[in-house]
Symmetry: C2
Subunit: 367 residues, 2 copies
Amino acid sequence: MVFEEVDLKARTLTINFASSKSSTVHIGQGILADPETWTFLNGTTQLALITNPTVRELYGELIQRVLPHNADVFEVNDGEEYKTLESYTALVDSLIRHQYKRNSSIVALGGGVIGDLAGFVAATYLRGVRLIQVPTTLLAQVDSSVGGKTAVNHIRGKNLIGAFHQPEHVVIDTTTLDSLPQRIYAEGLAEVVKYGVIDDAGLFCWIERNQEAILARDPRALQHAVTRSCEIKAKIVERDELESGVRMLLNFGHTYGHGIENAAGYGKLLHGEAVSIGMVLELELSVRLGLCSRDTADRVKRLLASLNLPTRLPNALAAQDIESAMQHDKKATDTQFRFVLVRNLGNAVADYVSDFGLIRAILMETS
Amino acid sequence: MVFEEVDLKARTLTINFASSKSSTVHIGQGILADPETWTFLNGTTQLALITNPTVRELYGELIQRVLPHNADVFEVNDGEEYKTLESYTALVDSLIRHQYKRNSSIVALGGGVIGDLAGFVAATYLRGVRLIQVPTTLLAQVDSSVGGKTAVNHIRGKNLIGAFHQPEHVVIDTTTLDSLPQRIYAEGLAEVVKYGVIDDAGLFCWIERNQEAILARDPRALQHAVTRSCEIKAKIVERDELESGVRMLLNFGHTYGHGIENAAGYGKLLHGEAVSIGMVLELELSVRLGLCSRDTADRVKRLLASLNLPTRLPNALAAQDIESAMQHDKKATDTQFRFVLVRNLGNAVADYVSDFGLIRAILMETS
């Protein structure tokens, strides 16, 4: 599909889980400001809006005007370094002080940090209250807001503490992407490319063909990239809510990526940037293991580079520090790492790799 | 059934949940020391034993001898006042420092505090690892170890932070009850009486008839009381894992009870003691609302008293403080409280009560 053919009408996806829960994902231009979007909140008695100062400045008033119930606003500082147990504790304390009850709703308005943190609060406050995700970055819209993963970081690693808690609704307004700084927009594209590589060669080719429109944030290009990404993620998490199988594919680029992100220190490399480098490294691993052709690996690398994403490790990063950080990740066991390996565009497999020498060599060569 | 007819052979109950998870409950005399009990841990690579100094002293060595894998022992101080986010954070830090992976197992060895706290760690560490409950108090054996509720307290209320996380196995050795101090044993009986009142008039009558054997901790009496309680709890949580319906019945005595426990300050009144008083108050509420006969209420109260359980509020407790604490509980909304009301022995119903005057009057009269 070329982007000219994309329908700009708002879309709704429903994700049904085995546990009888379901998530509804609303995608469209300008839907944040439309009171019709929020009718599912009718009857709410307590509404907590968790956000950061930057996003509040941009959308706080707008959203409070259209919500069917007054919201208490709780702010968290902006940045990955605040996705901590300390911020979590402060939010829980606030909800308790405001006597939030079990039938209250939490709206997470912001990027991945806000979504993960507010999501973990919703997962554990009174053993779980209703969660609505309102992602305002591309990364959060195509990835972290859908599927129910919530978490906070620990000094030793990303997302080491968390829970699965499905949002009842995800409200994705693609016009919020217009206000993103260039780097923040680009890091989201890394995850869109990821969907192409692991599941949908057609999506990958569409990105290749429409790079300019995508980089120009053409509304139709955004609508297609976000909708297709959410469709793929929805299909995968519906089959495997708790990541015991196929959902692991979504971690493509993240085994190296989390190690890189953590070793660099939060804020130095953005999550999507680390994943971009991680995908290049994991493609190299796939090539070395004889699964993937060099051509395919190069083709992905070229696309990432032309989307303004990094494809090499920063000079300042030592391979040893990355490997040590990888050891602390959820994807490591004592004797092996779980990787997503690519066979072809749209065809990937999760597997364990225990050849530490090879894993290290690839780190050394790419830095 | 009279207790002489109870079979002392070990029992196994399996609880199947809609989410396709299941819990296996093993109940028997001396099963803690039997290596056969622990074969489900074969193949485990990392095993964390979370316990407190008192329980470690009693069973630490014994259990470490029979476990099929070396366990790291992590201690938490003894007492409800340590069931906090601080203790939780310290445990998570320890697991991360020891590089515990996603395929590791957590064994909670102790009473309700250890089970709830270690359970919350297992629910959230790396978004959830395997949990084995080994309850050593009557309260934990008949109630808190089964059904997957995990939590920590907040200064403003009990269990305000937590998650549902089913233990894969629950190992209940009734010989551990021999070592319990009298008050700790008696508080567990409050929950056994609760099962009789809400679901099984036969169990209630059996307790009435066998009070002496129960108080003497006769092995057959213990086996029957624990097995029957677990069967009832299993039946209820299997139908309603996340407490959206019938599971609420298990909160009989807990609406007033949590308020009383919290207002008294942890450690003053034990949980089961507060629930005993709470049941008396909620029976009174049921009588005043015309649902229950005075005779039935008096009969339950007599049984609780003869099991050495309190049935009146301590003089030092102000009705106002209890009511204020109740407001912070999960069972409160802005305009009403959810109570479990009794119609007959074995027949109860969860309902909202908004007559704050009546709720308060009962508190005033019983103090």
